[in-house]
Amino acid sequence: MDASEEPLPPVIYTMENKPIVTCAGDQNLFTSVYPTLSQQLPREPMEWRRSYGRAPKMIHLESNFVQFKEELLPKEGNKALLTFPFLHIYWTECCDTEVYKATVKDDLTKWQNVLKAHSSVDWLIVIVENDAKKKNKTNILPRTSIVDKIRNDFCNKQSDRRSLPLFSRCCSSSRTPWCSTTNWTPSSLSMWSTSGPGVSVPPGALDCWVFLSCLEVLQRIEGCCDRAQIDSNIAHTVGLWSYATEKLKSLGYLCGLVSEKGPNSEDLNRTVDLLAGLGAERPETANTAQSPYKKLKEALSSVEAFEKHYLDLSHATIEMYTSIGRIRSAKFVGKDLAEFYMRKKAPQKAEIYLQGALKNYLAEGWALPITHTRKQLAECQKHLGQIENYLQTSSLLASDHHLTEEERKHFCQEILDFASQPSDSPGHKIVLPMHSFAQLRDLHFDPSNAVVHVGGVLCVEITMYSQMPVPVHVEQIVVNVHFSIEKNSYRKTAEWLTKHKTSNGIINFPPETAPFPVSQNSLPALELYEMFERSPSDNSLNTTGIICRNVHMLLRRQESSSSLEMPSGVALEEGAHVLRCSHVTLEPGANQITFRTQAKEPGTYTLRQLCASVGSVWFVLPHIYPIVQYDVYSQEPQLHVEPLAEDFWAQMCRDFPLPASKQSVLQFSSDPVYWSWRQTPQDSLLAGIPQRVKFTVTTGHYTIKNGDSLQLSNAEAMLILCQAESRAVVYSNTREQSSEAALRIQSSDKVTSISLPVAPAYHVIEFELEVLSLPSAPALGGESDMLGMAEPHRKHKDKQRTGRCMVTTDHKVSIDCPWSIYSTVIALTFSVPFRTTHSLLSSGTRKYVQVCVQNLSELDFQLSDSYLVDTGDSTDLQLVPLNTQSQQPIYSKQSVFFVWELKWTEEPPPSLHCRFSVGFSPASEEQLSISLKPYTYEFKVENFFTLYNVKAEIFPPSGMEYCRTGSLCSLEVLITRLSDLLEVDKDEALTESDEHFSTKLMYEVVDNSSNWAVCGKSCGVISMPVAARATHRVHMEVMPLFAGYLPLPDVRLFKYLPHHSAHSSQLDADSWIENDSLSVDKHGDDQPDSSSLKSRGSVHSACSSEHKGLPMPRLQALPAGQVFNSSSGTQVLVIPSQDDHVLEVSVT
């Protein structure tokens, strides 16, 4: 700035006052050089090295050279600027060491001693080179040696170094206040007080001088500038104002003008000295009413005048600082002012300045100034009797680590002393914020999920970190709790806990960082959440965005958070629900405090405020954040019944046996994996064998009293097996076993009564019962695929087809519980472990019944005592078992077959009713307490007697030994009637003529494997006499298509029924076809051969095209038992034809 304002070419100032330079030594020599020196020296530009970062300046300097006299040297304390000799020069021409040793050295020493005696350290020794003398004395030593000697003798290193800079500084400063540029800062003035290290002045003299200089400069500026210019240059002049204020303040303190009692005699003496030192006022200002001189004199003359002037200056300075936005500087001057007011016993005036400064330091987080200002404020508040404010400031100071231990203890004691005073109005509370007293660090619930049932005990353990330097006895610590009835509170809390990831339910509170309100650390982290708003009608996305949940924390006013000094509206909540802990001594540092409460009303409890009372002083944490809640719930008693069939553990033990000792260890271990196995109930229970069912009674708010029992109404087909050793276990709510008791079960015909063990509320009773579902005959019987079956079972059949799952039965049990007048109905589902099918096997006329038992369950069983009995009344029928073993294992997912031969002596009955029964027991159980009912299966076999024998034969062409491919062979089919007229023959196809009965049959030759080509008619209708050994022979021609052993083509036999006149007259052709195809489809079930179906279909379509519109006869398949194909399974050898030289090649 200097550089830019310096005009080019420089303004030449003439010097009114020239710095005095004394000359000693060779006066003649000096006189000889003086004219040159006085002329040349001012022309030589000199560098003025200026401090404070300003650029060096080149100046021209004149000096006033005077002869050295001891009287010129200033006396002690007298440092008159204008008469002060700045530099002492010793002149010598000496170039001879001998002369130097003889005279010059002594003279120099004397000169130096005089200078030293007057503390003058700025000197210069000049050795002038004389060319003439040098020429005369050729043997003379070089001049440099004299210089070296002088340097050795008189210049120690320090003074040598200092001499030049000082010279330049003194010269420059001589013109400083009067010719400086417009930038007025104390720097130019402060030079004076620091220049001349050897100059000593009476205390305060320099302050006076600086004060006067400042004011004079300011006055000059005011004199030559208009108001607007002054205002625009405040930034440059305010430093002088501040400096003057500071100097006047220190003068005031020095002269005892600020002390409470006024100046003492010593102070007065000092004042008189200073006023005398000022001398007479300069004539040019002496006549003016106002001058800096007069101002200073007046200010030092009385306490009142000083106060007036000091306040004027201070206020002016503060105002100027404020006007240019230098708030910090203004506050700092204000603090000085506050100090002054405190000295003057006017704390009410000091407070505002201290508060202002403190607020500023708090806002910017300057710890040391905060502490210092707070200490001043504490004193001020104490004087003002602002008890609440004082206590709060004290608590802040007691927790301030920038203070010494002693100071902290003092402020802590101040609080404790006040708290222990008996208060004049009992019940009056002084409410202070808690953070300076103690901080809430963490909180932990027991139970850790913070959910407790009505009447349960909840513990809240908090860690409070006491900031006080000494142990503090606290009468009570209270947590105010807000109660709200909320639905789904349990779920909400669980969600909350998982969201906050509190391991073991510990909630941590962020530490409060009071001293750094603006630092980013003190701000809580942003809690951002996604937000989706969907249209209620079609659930389409309407709006999406991000929500900041803790915006109230982030956007609160900075002031309110920083002005913690004032007990600003910390309201004490008075709630109905409180957690209380009495008589706690808080040691410095972390303290554990446990609150214990018994849950009463169900709902959500939110911890709001934390208060600690020390006498009448209450420290309050107004909001506990993050939100802490606990939930109290009430639960209705519940009964839960679930199947606990063969558990996985038991199965493991059976499949992989372990040594007994190890087994027991494993069985009773509380390994969670094992536990989960046991707990996993199976889908359903198995019918027919004893099964375990687990009963769980959750007592809820109900207390199980002695004599309380569960009344089970017995289901018809389900037994409850009473076992002597069954026990009930009572668990607490947290699944800790609390007791165990034997279960008493009493059964009557209709009701089973289970007496419950005594259990308190909110406990769980668990016990197991064995139940047995009796196999009920109708539900199990009649599984028939082959033959006609009863209609009700069709559903079961469908079910099995789709899922291959077990047939199930539901048993409903009604249970009366002691806590309710209503019965609980529980359905238990039992699955039948077996699936049974039967089939009829023939060998000529011999008949066999085969029963297949399939185990669908996961268990292995032992089958025993299989029976098949005829429930009909045919007496001559015999069922001969072909099974040898009485005991037979049936493994999981495996099947076992049983076969009986049917034997009869007379005519067999057209149908046979059978009942199959087999005893079964689980293979794993060695002994069962009860005998189990056998498994039964009923079925009916109809038309099982063989009526016709079909025999087919293929002969090679005549003259050939073997059949050949491509050559026609003859197929002979022989159909033989095996019995005379029977009951089953009596149908529409039977015709009678002359006592002879005959029936119409249709045969059909089909080759599914396409081995044979049937030439000519493949089907035909024959009239079969109904008499034993009646035969019918059919001849056909077939051609083998392949060589090798070929199975014979199938020959099928149908009953050919004449058309029903009643039917055909009413039905048109289409519905007739439909009707017929229905009947075919029905048989298709029994012969699940799709190709045969197709071929048969083709026959019908051929027939229908021939006899379209005419009534058509119907076909009915003969039941499987009535036809025996004696040639099934036979093969005929076909050899390749010999004309294999024909090779067909097709090129595409």
């Binding site: 090295r49 401090s51 404070y52 970062g53 800079p165 800062t185 104390p186 720097s187 402060s190 007080s193 620091t194 930034a235 430093g239 600082y321 240019i324 936005g325 230098r326 708030i327 910090r328 500087s329 700092f332 330091y361 910017e364 987080g365 300057w366 710890a367 040391l368 100034p369 210092h372 750094f516 603006v518 630092s519 980013q520 650390n521």
Partner: protein, 137 residues
């Protein structure tokens, strides 16, 4: 040579402040805090020009009777304030500039530390600052 060195955050709270142990620490805290007025003034007055010239050195902020207070501002508006003894005339503008550059380099090192959380109090600064305070006495 320096009697007090301070690093001040953008928000004007001290990140680091250290003064010669022989002197009254509080005095320097007040001094440095008050100097922020001039720092703010200088930044706002010639902020644009400073950015253009990449001139971070603010020069002498204000002198007091016994001390000179110098300022420096980084591009991220972190301020460095240094107090030197007025009587120490050996310290010229260039020396002060180089000391600030040294300080800036050290501050950059601190910021490069992945374990340092920007805005936290600076801990690992003492060695460098001590060397700058002792260098010439």
């Amino acid at each position: 040579m320096a009697v007090c060195i301070a690093v001040i955050a953008k928000e004007n709270y001290p990140l680091y402040i250290r003064s010669t142990p022989t002197e009254n620490e509080l005095k320097f805290h007040y001094m440095v805090h008050t100097s922020l007025d001039v720092v703010d003034e200088k930044i706002s007055a010639m902020g644009k020009a400073l950015v253009d010239q990449r001139e971070l050195y603010l020069g002498l902020l204000y002198p007091t009777e016994d001390y000179k207070v110098y300022g420096y501002v980084t591009n991220s508006k972190v301020k460095f304030v240094m107090v030197v003894d007025s009587s120490n005339t050996a310290l010229r503008d260039n020396e002060i500039r180089s000391m600030f550059r040294k300080l800036h380099n050290s501050y950059t090192d601190v910021m490069c530390n992945p374990f340092y959380n920007p805005g936290d109090r600076i801990q690992a600064f003492d060695n460098m600052v001590t060397s700058m305070m002792i260098q010439v006495c």
